[in-house]
Subunit: 267 residues, 6 copies
């Protein structure tokens, strides 16, 4: 099962001729999903597109499962994320925050002009989180008749993830146990578990995020070479494809709930 | 005690001649705080500058208490927030998100050029939250030798607030129990408790914020006239100046901790 | 008498609940005033917020006196001025010219969207003068049904000021006799007259401004350390609080005339 | 053979961990390729991502064949093209020209910051052509030590294409014989040849482009519903997968030549 | 004598090969002049380029006379001014204020990069006045080793003009006695004195400009069809070519003084 | 015959009073032409304004000849082109690409607001070519009821030029045989044929332009000091005023055809 081929999924906008897109948009309560990822260092064992692949896979799978009950399409993922904190390692393409905000607004503008009633920005990269939230407000304020949502998928379902993972808080960081497991499940061709080596996430501030499942109210800028020598933050050594499948199912399920409610509200 | 007069506080940048600002900036571990608020509808009983007054008061009081132990100054508050969701009521001045992001970046640029080692953007308005977080990343990435933080004060100390408040979840919303109480404590001249009337916060999505102390991972745009007829969301009817003092002390204390740690890290 | 506390004045937009703002805006010939100042060095004896405090005080007092005859509200002052020429001294927060122009346009846009019929940008900082004038044109051209004015208060009433002051041309410069006197009148807590030391304004070009009351047609960029060692340009040594009150009354009176005429035209 | 899966190709930046990207970038004469496509109507028989798929496939295949002789990586394709002229049909996501220009410049900036010596923007969408050329100049002028190229693949090899195609001038337009044939070869799952119906390209100006292989000096804006009822311009009815393979080989070969020379010059 | 042919003057940058420009720029105290005009309605009797022609003629003539004593070149005039207030009449091309500010800054940046020690923006259009002044500050702040000036030529020499003119205050407005006379002197082929018909300038505010020689401190936006039916404001009926020559000589002389002093300061 | 004096031509917008411009704009099928040039090095023998002069002369002459058959006006030339590749020589004023794109869009916006039915951007500088094409698309997309064209004049009539010129491919480059000949014909006062010395255009890529009459599909950035020591690329030594007249007639004729068709389509 390959979720990330351009246009291969039955819910992929990219793979459809325009009449099919137009027809979907015009149906009542129609929803468009825009996955937002990045291209950035993910340690020695994960590919640079990890966040793009995961956001795309979560969005597409959730939409496929919802497609019987609602008109929903997924655009290709935006891979030009905001990652200045990863540039010291190399392998990273990064937009400034304002530029990503602009890009999301412009994309949403033409997506909504197609006639979709609802829009979900589904983000997979921590560095994009606040910008996706900012974009949600900007887009919503400019398109008051549409229903506009934004979310970072790993901010959902923290309790359920906690039941599956083996690591303590700090283990599910950037390229840590959760991301590594999911990519080992979805794209084993791109993962080198033997090279997985990370440093558990210890933040200098106790009110900031220090785990995918433990966000914090305080925003603190730090280049990630302050956290880890390899670039991986957390304990990817604990990752397995089996747990990856379970993590993935949790996130797909959570996003599915969001889609269902979005469809109801947008109708 | 008046915290919000321009320049009256001993930690106010605005009230000092430039040699005093310069000297503070040049001391080891020096910190500048920029309060960020708004000018927007806050129901029938609170003034439009509520968030600006509160952000300014929290920042200034915390800094005054920290001033013996560290060099710290507070700029005047930025009152041009991002509030499109309040414009249906009137009384609101609002910048687009990208414009506020730019403004925060430009202000930070010249603040840091003065020689401060650390910067805290202290926000008091929900609609600014993601933008302040985005700005923190943008500023941090452009000033890698400085320590840059951003926070919305009411995202701190949720447990301690919970012990004081009388309302259930949904009661401490926009112009609700917490904000009303604090303003009744700090600026009774501007509060009309008799006019306090709100609607408890019920969000159409169960993963979004529905209380100052209950943030959620999902961002959903909604004009606030969907939540409340008066513009007040929560139960301002429960507000008292006494509770306001206690709420205020919690937030000042929490921000004080952040300042202390910021000073240590910036040194 | 304290004019500069957020929201304390009966004409302060900041201190009113939104229904009061909305009602004022909807009355015939309603006027909003936006004070524009700066945060920048003002010699060793005046605080960095001098221009913000003065613009705010002139605007608020003039509006209070006019309030019986017309619906008028004053927003909080914009303190993020354009002051690159003061940065060599320190203590200065400065926006680029284009950024300030954008900010003024964006603020005016939402102020006028509230329904005000007239707008006055009341500036107190020389470095903002041309930008406030530029903004007036931009705002006016975009809001052709509104009446839009901009002025730097000390460009008004030059003759009347001349009768009060003791200094010759060049003495009423940046942080000179006039500004120092007024601040000693309005905010004695922030003024250190003993530290007042300035250099009379001598411009290298005889067609440029060399006194608050002597503008010139030629614009010439110069960092202010070329004019003065302390940062004060003029003769602050001559300042007294008594003259300050008289200067202040002249400017309040002049701005009052402008408001009256603006109200008539906007009606 | 699947070229368009994120990260599956041995030359895909997306599929590599960062040390591999960094190492490639640091080798002498290293080259990065950025495919640029669109998401827009392509008649009733081709998917909206046609140009993105083709640009990505040409870039990736050419780079794979060149990879033995030179260090070369391909980023994911940029699919947010400039397509205002296709919006009347629906199914189209489009950036304004200036926004796409900015995006290309920002992406190139961080790609080149990785240490690549050469950059090729490989475009597959007519509407992007001038912007990619403009971006090449902007990027080159800002990165004078790098070698920067831009090209629209179907502007290459016109003579060789002419020997293969069956249509006359005007037949190889937007979603015409050439694009349809190539997609039938590369992604038969996304092509519905039975629905292929187009109108040969007749331009109202005889100096403008009227075929992929017949560019013209004159730029003339026209919405594409002026050219075709289905959105397809040309004769897709003549398309076959066999010709598609031959067309594809020509373009891959031409781009291979460009890469070879770019590597020599960048070394 | 024709001053406005591209490159015909001995001080025209446009007419010289690059080595001559480079050599001039490298001489001590070198000065570049950028005339700034407009293309806008000037009544029924003057051409739309009036302000461009006059700014160019004043700049070029003053520079020609100064050229023996100093290295000075004049660029072609910028004719894309800020004229929203003239658009109701037609015949007008206008940039927004921010766009003109940007253009002036960008032009100045590359002019100064050539090595010129001084720059004069010489403006001929009232609507550009504040923007030219704003640009002077922006350019000066960004190029602190250069000497940067800006001026609107008709703001110079008011007393001397007063001795020549026949009209009262209000007569020398837009397309009034002074502009009409000068154009009748310089370009009689473009002036139709028989069609000269204007309305003396009466401003609704007594603190605003109401004559080329009577500026005022108050900026008030007004479309010019509020002042005049023909578009001409003032008394062009009094214009003669003889007075035009005398007016022109005054302005050339005043600008010559500015150039001389600029050269001294820039050296 | 002088084509480049501001406003002297009967088709010059600049030389007409506004009622004449308005009347032309309102006629059926009215056309406005905006010449776009540059100010940049053109070897030791041609003036820096060469491209501006030529674009203006071609546009104006073609419009004069067409004026009997159609309403057509020509604005003054935009001389602030995109020329980073010429800055190493000096004598060059250059805008960034995005800034020129913005300027062309803004100018077109107000030109079309006058009521013209058609617009032609007539470019004379290679570095502007792609930007003028990009601007054509942007303007057309924003003004769908107008007919919008863009062209670089020397991309027209390549065959006819080939019959006149003496140089081989590579001889008609920047400041080469064609440009030098035309300027010698039009403005002999600005040409120094004795100083004409160039290097035939040899491009490092065989798919890029290497002659005014030989464009190529590949865009490659290069500073022009890589091509020529004097800055002239081609064989200006072969230039004569006689050939210049013939070249000029070809281009005027070609542009005349474009104008005729534009008028028909715009009507």
């Amino acid at each position: 099962m390959v979720y990330d081929t351009i246009g291969a999924s039955p819910v992929a906008w990219a793979g459809k001729p325009y009449p099919a897109v137009r027809d979907a948009a015009e149906r009542d309560g129609s929803v468009a999903v825009v996955p937002v990822g990045s291209l950035e260092q993910h340690g020695h064992h994960l590919p640079t597109a990890t966040d793009t692949i995961l956001a795309d896979a979560v969005a597409t799978t959730a939409a496929e499962r919802a497609a019987d009950a609602m008109p929903v399409l997924v655009t290709p993922p935006i891979w030009t994320g905001h990652s200045p904190h990863h540039t010291p390692f190399g392998g990273t393409v990064s937009l400034d925050g304002g530029d990503l905000l602009d890009l999301l607004e412009r994309v949403a503008e033409t997506v909504l002009a197609e006639g979709f009633d609802g829009l979900l920005l589904l983000n997979g990269h921590g560095g994009n989180g606040a910008l996706v939230s900012s974009a949600t407000s900007a887009i919503g304020a400019s398109h008051r008749t549409a229903e506009v949502l934004g979310v970072t998928y790993f901010d959902l379902g923290a309790d359920r993830i906690g039941e599956i993972r083996d690591s303590d808080r700090g283990g599910a960081g950037h390229a840590g146990e959760v991301e590594t497991s999911m990519l080992a499940h979805l794209r084993p061709d791109l993962v080198d578990l033997d090279a997985a080596e990370g440093t558990p996430w210890e933040s200098p501030y106790d009110r900031t995020r220090d785990d995918l499942s433990h966000p914090g109210p305080l925003s603190a800028y730090a280049d990630f070479d302050a956290y880890s020598e390899t670039g991986a933050v957390g304990t990817p050594e604990l990752a397995t494809a089996e747990k990856g499948e379970r993590f993935f199912e949790v996130f797909v399920d959570e996003v599915g709930d969001v889609l269902e409610r979005l469809h109801e509200r947008a109708g």
